[in-house]
């Protein structure tokens, strides 16, 4: 074959690969939609697996609690410390509590919680369900007349959707404690005075937006982790891919959702 012919073959191959990739993308988009629809179809129809939902809530909370406590506190502390010099230039250190509260309550608390949960909870759900898939435990549930989707997926997604907003609220609180530590060490501000300044700039919309954001993030982390694990294949390699895919996809989607929700909140402000 001459060079031109080689090039044509290569381009054709590349084109067909590209076509395949585009096709694969739309197929997986369709599959994820079906997965989400199935969740809504099954999650709110009896019998409810309340005990398992509670167990999963506990698992999600306990798994992330320590890391979230430490990270939330450090984020609050560092953010306050780093913001101080800029405000000092204008003699506006007294605005620090307000600045910290806006940053933490509006953006940092839900986002930091979601990112940590993506890593801790998302990967764990992906790996757990992935390993259950490759060891045929999900098939075993199916052939014994039970509903594995309801028991494994619905419970986990509900658990992350319920627990992550609670964790985000907690992250906000420990973040403020971190901020307070810095402010109190430098200005000697009392806790009461600090908290008064914290709540002053916040509107009801901020709390609602933050809550909605955390619910969306929680749902995303749960559904992505479950989708990756529930549909994993190819043995142990598939389990690794499911765990990894759960983290990467959830983190990516969390950022996209953050941008969209921030834009939407702007319309109500």
């Amino acid at each position: 074959m001459d060079t031109a012919e080689n090039t044509t073959v290569a381009i054709r191959k590349k084109n067909s690969k590209l076509k395949q990739s585009v096709l694969d993308f739309f197929v997986s988009l369709y599959n994820i939609n079906q997965f989400i629809l199935r969740f809504f179809k099954e999650a709110f129809v009896p019998p409810f697996e309340l005990k398992e939902v509670m167990r999963q809530c506990y698992e999600v909370g306990v798994r992330s609690f320590t890391l979230i406590s430490v990270t939330g506190f450090i984020v609050g502390l560092i953010f306050t410390k780093q913001s101080r010099p800029s405000l000092s230039q204008f003699g506006a250190e007294s605005w620090l509590p307000s600045l910290v509260s806006i940053a933490i309550m509006r953006a940092l608390a839900p986002l930091v919680t979601a990112l940590i949960a993506s890593g801790k909870v998302g990967s764990s759900i992906g790996a757990e369900l992935g390993s259950m898939r490759v060891t045929e435990q999900i098939d075993a549930m199916e052939v014994s007349g039970t509903k594995p989707f309801k028991y494994l997926v619905c419970t986990r997604v509900l658990a992350t959707t319920i627990t992550i907003p609670i964790l985000a609220t907690y992250t906000g609180f420990v973040g403020l404690v971190g901020g307070y530590l810095n402010v109190s060490m430098n200005e000697g501000t009392s806790w009461t005075a600090f908290m008064e300044q914290v709540f002053e700039p916040l509107a009801f919309t901020d709390f609602v937006a933050s809550l909605v954001k955390s619910i969306v993030f929680g749902f995303t982390i749960g559904i992505v982790g479950c989708y990756q694990g529930y549909n994993s294949n190819k043995g142990t390699e598939g389990v690794g891919k499911a765990a990894n895919g759960a983290v990467v996809t959830a983190m990516f989607l969390v950022f996209i959702e953050e941008i969209i929700i921030v834009q939407m909140t702007g319309w109500f402000r």
Partner: protein, 257 residues
């Protein structure tokens, strides 16, 4: 232990398959399977690895969809039933997986209770305990009730896997490679258990294996799956009384004659 004579009702097929075909991408695994499993019978499906034996029972249990063919299980055509009907049908079929597929986050007790609690509405605690004790006793592993699957040996896991399917009193048992990966003594114990299940619980079974000892000890009838079709069917001696070059090596490489 010698297999006891079992009364098979040849007028009443519990599973009836006609013209079953199944392909994976371009590879045709099953190419027109016809099969009847009769009430009370142990049917062994023999064949080399990758010939579609497990695919066959996964189609029967509704885990895989056939490309073509009619599959009637306990009077229901599984291609034309609703999800709810399939779920009800599955309760009447026990599926013992090759690797046992025990739920590794649950104890043996929880493994056994799981299908029972979800399929028998209104069952009392006492009834659950009685059922669990009965099936554990049937497989001879009452002492493992509070153990985790990771603490069990391969043979014990197989037995608990069988116990978990028995707890719903299935009419049909599907065994996927019941003796794979086990030592010869444990294999014989599992074969005896399969025969005991047939007699005690009056089940009809399909046993997927490439272990001829298992086939000989448990099978009332053998079906040899070759090139996507059943090439030879009959008793163990009938199937292997041949000079067919595709069947003979299978027999010669095993150590029973």
């Amino acid at each position: 232990m010698e297999k006891a004579k079992v009364k098979v009702d040849h007028t009443n097929p519990v599973i009836s398959i006609r013209g079953l075909e199944k392909s994976f991408e371009d590879y045709a695994v099953l190419r027109g399977i016809d099969l009847d499993l009769y009430q009370g019978e142990n049917l062994v499906v023999l064949g080399r690895s990758g010939t579609g034996k497990s695919v066959l029972i996964k189609i029967i249990s509704g885990l895989l969809r056939p490309d073509k063919g009619e599959i009637t299980v306990l009077g229901k055509n599984i291609a034309h039933i609703t999800d709810r009907e399939l779920q009800e049908l599955r309760i009447r079929i026990g599926f013992s997986f090759q690797n046992s597929a025990l739920y590794d986050s649950m104890t043996v007790r929880k493994n056994l209770e799981f299908p029972l609690v979800r399929n028998r509405k209104g069952i009392t605690r006492k009834e659950i305990d009685t059922n669990v004790e009965t099936v554990l006793d049937a497989v001879g592993l009452s002492q493992t009730i509070n153990q985790m699957p990771s603490e069990l040996s391969g043979g014990q896991r197989k037995r608990i896997g069988i116990a978990r399917t028995l707890i719903l009193n299935p009419e049909i048992m599907l065994y996927d490679e019941p003796t794979a990966g086990l030592d010869p003594i444990t294999c014989i114990e599992i074969n005896d258990l399969i025969n005991e299940v047939q007699q005690r619980f009056n089940t009809s079974s399909i046993i997927i294996t490439h272990d001829l000892t298992c086939a000989k000890q448990t099978g009332d009838r053998i079906a040899m799956l070759l090139e996507g079709q059943f090439q030879r069917t009959g008793t163990f001696d009938e199937v292997f009384d041949t000079n067919d070059s595709r069947v003979k090596p299978f027999f010669d490489y095993n150590f029973i004659k």
